[in-house]
Symmetry: C2
């Protein structure tokens, strides 16, 4: 018998109990073994952690997740016995050694991940396996389906549901809050979910949060869409494809490129909101470096979509340069409103209209691009945008000048006469992050000239906004040492 | 500023601080990021965990390792700022993607592992990388050297230090407590360290612990060897090559075969105790399944030894069958004493004498095998054994009958007339573990006939000892369903 001790700590992942090292040794059980904890009236299986200190011999510590799981009905004394690991541990091992799994096996792993049955180390081996040996088509399909089935789903019966997604990596590329209102203004249903930035200066959810609420439940998302035909919310609070978040957390420590899980991650979330037709934006020159990889990715999206009953159109777009003038939540929100009011940066306007046109055609409209222009120029898209913002508890009348920016401004001059401005996206993104983006909404970088401009030496090339004066010296120093402009490399790769 | 909260829990690996999820989001820092915690008077770098619960907004939780690290001088309030990850995170990522590291880079990873600078997930990716792409010779050498340098070392100046090691996997194969006394009786210095069982029914340290103390510090090991010329202790308390334990813990959840780290693990510990000449026992048919892998492993041991200034002789031995009659700590201890008294199982005696003979020749003696026999038969080895047991605080006069065995005995009869007994080592090991080995010393299996015997149906083939009556039914059921005998496969592999 072990006396139960409540530990005031979360494991962060699986159900974890902590035993004294001596007890574990006496029982022949080891760190990360599974144990069944049982008593008169209940039992559960947990992963074992060991301690010399938090739990004395004869004690067993329950971490927060265990106490939650038991709903407060915590026994005073329990028995413990070792149990075998879930099958998926063996599957993960096999996959790490190069054998692809069958669909049902992938499903087993996904559900065990979702139900917190795998420890962090075991889960990391699964992630590693996907980098060692790319997921097969069968695995990718099974992973995507299992991710959908392991989370919540929303359906809009009788409606044609359109959706879009960009694989990301381009500073300032904030097309969603323009494309969604255009397409919704044409009468389509668009339940758009977006992510927050992880390593970039702003995700779509961070930008929208400048203007309205974004953290809604799946039920609320459905009701928003019913109300105004579209919504633009953060995907993280919806519990759609929750396994995606688990995989993301496991990749983050090594900043592993999401490529191994990119398709399943995106397509599971589209399927979960009931999308029928999906437009995928693949910026070339950002995360995808060469045209053949971009084409390969596009065809994998289309194939996976067809397996899941979604029609996919994939666009390879120019991701070599920042898009729009603002980089950072508030500055990008300003760009978006300017575009919707007809005075925004040309490149962002062009791209958003292009995407919206494709999506309209995917929805069955003829001459989608012309229709998109018409909806934008007529103000119908802006009207729909304000409806969405209002439904999401924001101020629909907000003007760019109402959006606060950081009060400290670092101005960066054009270093010499430039015949062709070519920005270093990584430097721009880094500076925006140094200024405080995305956590500080008003922090970011404003590019005063679009890429390709001819500019005279000494003019202000960009302004860095930050509300934190102590960050200014580091930003100045960084910009001295890292020019935000590069010479363009015309040959990207040789094959 | 954050208020410090002491958390009554160990992280088990790196220095970990816990922040409220909201604070982390405001600061743009994420799970497993590194943060610098600083205050007037000190600072340290830790891995970040997140919580909704253990730490409220404005609080920072210090786990046990952090409090230990600060030696009790814990500030009340601290600042926190993000810092870059150690270089080794980038190195691990590179290696996971297939690029071998340079010697200095491997060294960096080893020292960061040792200094708790890497989180469990990051460390797991390093382990995974070694299964994806085998360590190169350069990496293996660097890993071994770094493991030695990261731990304690012992030297015996002016002495020729001999050592042996078996890669394991054969039930009952307890040669160390016989070989070491023989070789020490010939005047050689043998500072032998052994491991405890992890997934097998007994490790050498578990067996020796039946007879004497085995948990000594490095300083005590040195003093034991000075006193009687040899020692046989548990490697785990010595802090020799501590990184080996870290890697072991990371492999354990997936039961990853140690092969990727086998050489470095063994050779680092040999180098750490100052071994000049090392005998390696590679049982064929246990962990190594075919002769060519065994030869390959043997030559890698020799090569790595030469790089580290150790002369290595590697023996490929018969590991297809259990050795000796006992499997489990007490039963194996009994076998050992019987062999030293001249009445032990023939196969164990033969093997131990063979190994001792090779080791004596490695030490410069002529006709090693004859010398080993002489030292055993004359009782000189047994005398040396008793000296060692006495030095290690055991009873040198202990007799086999003094060693307690589990009081409940399951007898298993020979199922049919057998012309050639061929045991299933895995079933034998599993039954010994079910009986309670290695945690319960008196639990285990006694084989009544050696492999190859001709036995009549109905005779007692083996006895299972356990002190826990509740385990008896499960053992009986398991043996009904899993015969401990198999038919011998004469062709092991085709190449």
């Amino acid at each position: 018998m072990f006396r139960v001790k409540k530990l005031d700590v979360e494991s962060g992942s699986s159900l974890v109990v902590v035993m004294n090292r001596q007890n574990a040794r006496d029982m022949n059980i080891h760190l990360e073994d599974r144990v069944e904890v049982f008593w008169k009236g209940g039992s559960f299986v947990a992963v074992l952690q060991l301690s010399d200190f938090s739990t004395l011999p004869g004690e067993i510590g329950f971490m927060k997740e265990v106490c939650d799981y038991l709903g407060g009905k915590i026994p005073e004394e329990v028995h413990v016995r070792p149990v075998v690991k879930p099958d998926s541990v063996q599957l993960i091992k096999r996959r790490l050694f190069g054998t692809p799994l069958k669909g049902g096996e992938i499903r087993q792993v996904v559900f065990d991940l979702m139900e917190n049955k795998l420890s962090a180390v075991e889960s990391a081996y699964f992630v590693a396996s996907a980098y060692v040996q790319r997921l097969s088509f069968e695995e990718e399909e099974a992973l995507t389906r299992a991710m959908v089935d392991a989370g919540r789903t929303i359906r809009f019966p009788g409606k044609l549901v359109l959706d879009k997604h960009c694989i990301g990596g381009v500073p300032g590329n904030r097309t969603t809050p323009i494309v969604v209102p255009i397409v919704a203004a044409a009468g389509f249903v668009v339940p758009k979910t977006s992510s927050r930035a992880i390593t970039s200066p702003a995700g779509t959810a961070d930008v929208l949060e400048v203007l309205c609420r974004v953290d809604y439940s799946a039920r609320e998302l459905k009701s928003l869409v019913k109300q105004v035909g579209a919504a633009m919310v953060w995907g993280g609070a919806l519990d759609l494809a929750p396994v995606d978040d688990i995989l993301l957390k496991l990749r983050y420590p090594l900043r592993l490129d999401p490529v191994a899980f990119l398709l399943s991650s995106i397509m599971a979330k589209k399927k979960a909101v009931g999308a029928d037709k999906v437009l995928i934006d693949i910026p070339l020159g950002a995360k995808v470096k060469d045209a053949s990889s971009a084409r390969d990715l596009a065809s994998r999206f289309k194939y996976l979509g067809s397996k899941l009953n979604m029609e996919v159109r994939a666009l390879v777009t120019d991701g070599f340069q920042p898009i729009g003038s603002g980089v950072g939540p508030a500055l990008e929100a300003i760009d978006v409103i300017e575009v919707l009011r007809g005075k925004g940066p040309e490149d962002l306007t062009e791209k958003a209209v292009g995407l919206a046109g494709e999506l309209l055609e995917l929805g069955g409209k003829a001459s989608g691009r012309e229709l998109a222009w018409k909806l934008l120029k007529s103000g119908k898209a802006y009207k729909k945008f304000r409806e969405i913002i209002e439904a999401q508890e924001g101020d629909p009348g907000v003007k760019p000048r109402d959006i606060p920016l950081g009060e400290y401004v670092v101005e960066y001059p054009v270093p010499e006469d430039q015949t062709y401005l070519y920005y270093d996206s990584e430097v721009i993104a880094k500076v925006a992050r140094m200024a405080g983006a995305p956590g500080i909404k008003g922090a970011g970088v404003k590019l005063m000239y679009p890429p390709g401009s001819k500019v005279r030496e000494g003019r202000t090339l960009m302004k860095v906004y930050t509300p934190v004066d102590t960050r200014v010296p580091a930003i100045e120093k960084f910009l001295e040492e890292n020019a935000p402009l590069v010479s363009r490399e015309m040959i990207i790769g040789t094959y």
